[in-house]
Amino acid sequence: MATVVWFVASACAIASALAVIVQRNPFIAAIALLGNLASLATLYLLLQSDFVAAAQIIVYAGAVMVMFLFVIAYVGPHAEVPDERRHTWQLIAACVAAGAILVEIALAVGRSTLDSAASVEDSFGSPQAVGEVFLTRYVGAFELVSLLLLVAAIAGVVLGSGPRPSRVVDERQRRVQEARDLAASRAGDDR
């Protein structure tokens, strides 16, 4: 049973990840990423990591994806690069890099001796168990992440509320220049 669920979830995860990088429309790519996140949450459940699976759905599929879809809607048709031609050497280099990582992982997995799972009690992966470790041994990391999220929130506000769009600024500068030219020519006439 677990093998069947693992196979289906893994196939969905890989297929949706391929859809993310192949789709030209960013909106559909974001929806495919949503499927990828859900499949990974299923795999986390298979690994008895219930709390991480719940956090994955709430944080990623909820908050992060809403932000993505909002920005895709804000940017609109500009999000698509019209002529996505690329150099052949880029394609070859990317495939070589990906293939090297795959071969490396396959070799490492083939030689590993970690294939028998540790026996764990039923509370493994529950919010209590994870929270206890998180807030005692890793409390420093917890505080650092909260600080990082604060900095990121400030950065989001700063980046989102920059100067006016350049077209508006250009228009204003043009009017100021026109007024100056007019004043200069009038001053010339008076003389």
Binding site: A13, I21, L40, V52, V64, V81, E84, L102, V151, G160
Partner: protein, 101 residues
Amino acid sequence: MTPGLGSYLIVSGILFAIGLVGVLLRRSPLVVLLSLEVMLNSANLALVGFGRYVGGQDGQVFALVVMGVAAAEVVVGLGLIVAMERRRLVLDTDQLVELRG
């Protein structure tokens, strides 16, 4: 009969490679960010898998920290994209070369 650690690591590796190809080849910054999410999630899968097979909660704590970092990264990345859009720049990573050394 349950799938072993190796099967999860292979899935994680395939997802990482797919995300890497997306980051390197796509030119729309939005899709590059989406591919980065795929890569971060594949690392999370490996962390949770190792955590389950070692038998401690540490791997899951790491995965949660990675989720927090990914959320921060998405905020900054999307903020940059919104800023580029407001300045009427073309959303194409091959044309945004002013920071090239």
